[in-house]
Symmetry: C2
Subunit: 318 residues, 2 copies
């Protein structure tokens, strides 16, 4: 008899999206993390992690200190499940890359455990448990990676706790380019650069742009989307973390991108583009510029805004 | 022979709209200001104001110090017109009321002069000239009253200079209630209360709400509109200017409003409501609450979000 088990893929996510610090995010098709869940031996309780690949041995195997483990445990508690669960994690996302790796593992874990249990928990519960998992890394985190990792698409977090998530429309032809240079930036360090207050004038400009971006997405107004993709808050204060950021952005915009900024707290960069041809040209230009200005290898992804959040990719015995 | 002349009405406008400090505004049907323009005697140049009613003698008659006069002169200069223009102004809007009175006079003046000249100036020129007129009162002003006074409807000012104006959709049934208590608040004093920096956390919450409001207007999602109508920036810092503001808001919300906040820098208050019956109940509750908590007379207006900005209401000889 084959043990009942389920494997879930959760995608990389780009958060902040220039004008939406802490509130906007979108999912791309790949890369992502995979979490496999199965029941533990009879009598066992709680969550055990029996293996992690792709992290170079750096993530905690102790479930209580692992985002996927904490998220899974939160779901077991939320639904009153007494059976134990074993997780295997295949990290497709590089650590500290700004691609929402913690969120992907947490989202994949809750969806996998939910499927293993029979998929009865409502989405509200799943998101709350995934947030609890990701919270390991940053307890004040906004679910701007968790929400797109779970729901897919382009999302706005109107309120983080309890989550009030708005799924934004995605115009036909809107494409993302994501470049991950082989640098690591700790989210906590990137956040510290922001301070706790911002000039009112910068904030006004940010919310004007965010409102315009939402309108542009609804109307498929690519000109307005392009004008709105400006970050007056996080990027200027974090630019020092990514060498040559201004030059890389310039090369990206010169290649025809609608906009370009840091993905999350970086070092990954994203661009939004109109159409696949444009996205491919922008990807080439960004990759070259990263090589020249950062002097590191990089991985480049060209993707639609993926409508699929965390989802089952294989299962048996269910 | 009857002299050629034209009279334009420009509506009151509600700016800020809770979550859109300095960037959001909408027009209501009435009250508003009227400006009549005619040519001066042959040989005269520039702008002369030959009368103002409804201001209790308080507004400058010197065109160079009057918002309508400066706006009209800006348009004459912009289009290279050498003939002189005479303006008569009928203020329907109370001074320092938070209803966009300066913007209404400036918008009415440019539309009136433009019509007098044959209506050839593009909208971009009209808005720039109206902004220049309103700038008399506050040179750093954002055109969040000017834009709806000119365009009508619900607008987002993505960028003030040069103006990048986004006309937002208005869901069927969205109604405004505006109550003007007989207080005056100087815009400059209200602005000074804000300071020049804001907590990042408050700013994040504001742009999350603004993005959600824009989405809610597009989807006609009244629940989301209601949740988004929260001001974390201006209202908390200005609450001291309006006695009993919290109690008035509570009465307004208890009567079924979607949201309620200061109109501009106050003292007028606005509420948004779903449907005329709800708006009428809210209007009654707000009016009573203002009487109880502010202890002043007030004028109350129930209105659709008016699709009409400044427009000609009478003309002859054109």
């Amino acid at each position: 008899m084959i043990d009942r088990q389920v494997t879930v893929f959760a995608p990389a996510t780009v958060s902040n999206v220039a004008c939406g610090f802490d509130v906007l995010g979108f999912a791309i098709e790949r890369p992502g993390d995979e979490v496999t869940a199965r029941f533990a031996e009879p009598g066992a309780t709680g969550v055990v992690i029996d293996g992690i690949t792709g992290d170079g041995g750096r993530l905690p195997r102790d479930a209580a200190r692992n985002t996927a483990g904490v998220a899974a445990q939160a779901l077991l508690t939320a639904v009153g499940e007494r059976r134990g669960v074993v997780l295997s994690i295949a990290k497709g996302l590089p650590l500290s890359s700004g691609l929402g790796g913690s969120a992907a593992s947490a989202a994949a874990a809750v969806v996998a455990v939910n499927a293993l249990l029979g998929a009865h928990a409502p989405l509200d519960t799943l998101i709350a448990c995934a947030i609890e998992g990701e919270g390991l890394g940053n307890r004040s985190a906004h679910p701007d990676n968790i929400a797109p990792a779970l729901y897919g698409g382009f999302v706005l977090v109107r309120h983080p706790h309890p989550p009030d998530i708005v799924q934004l429309p995605v115009p036909t032809g809107l494409m993302a380019v994501v470049v991950h240079p082989e640098l690591e930036i700790e989210t906590a360090k990137a956040r510290a650069l922001l301070g706790t207050t911002v000039p009112l004038a910068d904030a006004v400009r940010q919310w004007a742009n965010l409102g315009a971006l939402v309108d542009g997405l609804h109307r498929a107004d690519f000109g307005l989307i392009a004008r709105a993709l400006e970050d007056t808050i996080a990027e200027p204060r974090r630019a020092s973390l990514v060498p040559g950021l201004a030059a890389i952005k310039q090369a990206t915009m010169d290649a025809g991108a609608l906009g370009c900024s840091l993905s999350g707290s970086g070092p990954s960069l994203f661009a939004l583009c109109r159409g696949e041809d444009s996205a491919q040209r922008v990807a080439d230009a960004m990759t070259r510029a990263v090589a020249v200005h950062i002097g590191r290898e990089s991985q480049t992804y060209v993707s639609s805004i993926s409508p699929r959040g965390a989802h089952v990719i294989s299962s048996c015995g269910l």
